[in-house]
Symmetry: C2
Subunit: 148 residues, 2 copies
DNA sequence: GTATACTTAGTTTGTCTAACTAATAGTTGC
DNA sequence: GCAACTATTAGTTAGACAAACTAAGTATAC
C-alpha cells in the first residue's frame, strides 16, 4: 500500500470516468427513439436469440417486469419479435427483426470506431500491452468479486 | 487497419463492459436512498464548491431543470445546501453539508478499494504502464472528439 | 396444488422541453 | 447622467415519458 499504488488507483478512477464519457455517453441512437437501456436488451437478444424474459432479466440484473415492458416497446418499434415457445405455453422466445439486427450492427460499428480512435495514439505493441494488462486486471478483480 | 488492431478494438469494447460492471454498478449507497445520478451532483459540488445550477448542468451534460430538481432532493436529504449568491441576486451557490461530505468520502473510499482490487493482480510496474497507456489513449481520443 | 413465465398496476426517479419569474445588462432618448 | 424599454441570464415549475422497482394477477407446467 505504497504512495505510488494509491496514486495509480486515484488516477485509474479518474481515467475511467473520462473513458465512460468517451465510449458510452455518445451513441448513434441519438434521436432514433431507442434508449441505452433498450439497446442493452437488443444486445442481449443478439447474444442469446430465442431467450425468454426471465433469462434476460437474470442476465442483465433487472426484474422481469422491467424487461417485459422494455420488450413491449422494442416490439412496437419493430426491432424485436416475441414468439410463443413451442415447448412451453407460458414462455415466449425473443428474436431480433431485420431492422433490429441492422441497428445493433450500426451501434457496434460506431463503438468499434470509438475504440479505434482510442487506440489511435498508441502503437500496435502498446495497444496489445494495454489490452493484455486490462484483461489480466479485470479477470483478477472478477474472481475477487465473485468470492465475496 | 490490420486484423490485429480490429481484435484489440473488439477486446477493448468487451473489457470496458466488464469494467463498468466491476467499478460502477456496485456502490456503497445501496439503500441509503441516494442514487448514482444524485451522487454525480454531489461529486460535482465537491470539485466545484459554490457552483450554480447551470454550471453543474453544463459540466454534467444535463439540463438546468434536471439539476434543479436533483438539488432539491439532495437538499431535502440534508446532503447539499443552497445559498444565495451575494454578487448576483438571481444565482445560488451550492455547498455540501457535513453529511454530504461524509457520504462522498465513503463512496470515494469504496471506489478506491475497487481500483485497488483491480490492480491487485498487477505488479507496480504494470500498474504504472496501464495507467500511462490509458492516460495517453484517452487524451488523444478526447482531442479527437473535441475537434469534431 | 404449487411452482414457473410472464403481464399488469402503481410508485419513484431521471430526464427532457416549454413556459414562467426574477434579476442583471444593454440601449435609447432626453 | 439617468429613466425606461428590451434582451439576456439564473433558476424554477409543469407536464411528458422512460426506467426501474414491488406487489398482485393470469396462464401453463409438473
Amino acid at each position: 500500500m505504497t504512495n505510488v499504488s494509491l496514486l495509480a488507483e486515484d488516477n485509474l478512477l479518474d481515467l475511467f470516468g473520462r473513458l465512460r464519457k468517451l465510449a458510452f455517453d455518445q451513441n448513434p441512437l441519438q434521436d432514433s427513439g431507442v434508449t441505452m437501456s433498450q439497446l442493452a436488451l437488443l444486445y442481449w437478444v443478439t447474444a442469446s436469440p430465442g431467450c425468454g424474459v426471465q433469462d434476460m432479466a437474470d442476465g442483465l440484473d433487472l426484474t422481469a417486469p422491467t424487461v417485459s415492458v422494455g420488450v413491449r416497446r422494442l416490439e412496437k418499434a419493430g426491432l424485436l419479435e416475441r414468439q410463443p415457445d413451442p415447448q412451453d405455453g407460458r414462455a415466449i422466445q425473443l428474436f431480433l427483426t431485420t431492422q433490429g439486427q441492422e441497428l445493433c450492427q450500426q451501434v457496434r460499428a460506431f463503438r468499434r470506431e470509438k475504440m479505434r480512435l482510442l487506440l489511435k495514439g498508441l502503437t500496435a505493441e502498446e495497444s496489445t500491452t494495454l489490452v493484455t494488462l486490462l484483461e489480466h486486471a479485470i479477470s483478477t478483480a472478477e474472481k475477487g468479486a465473485k468470492s465475496e
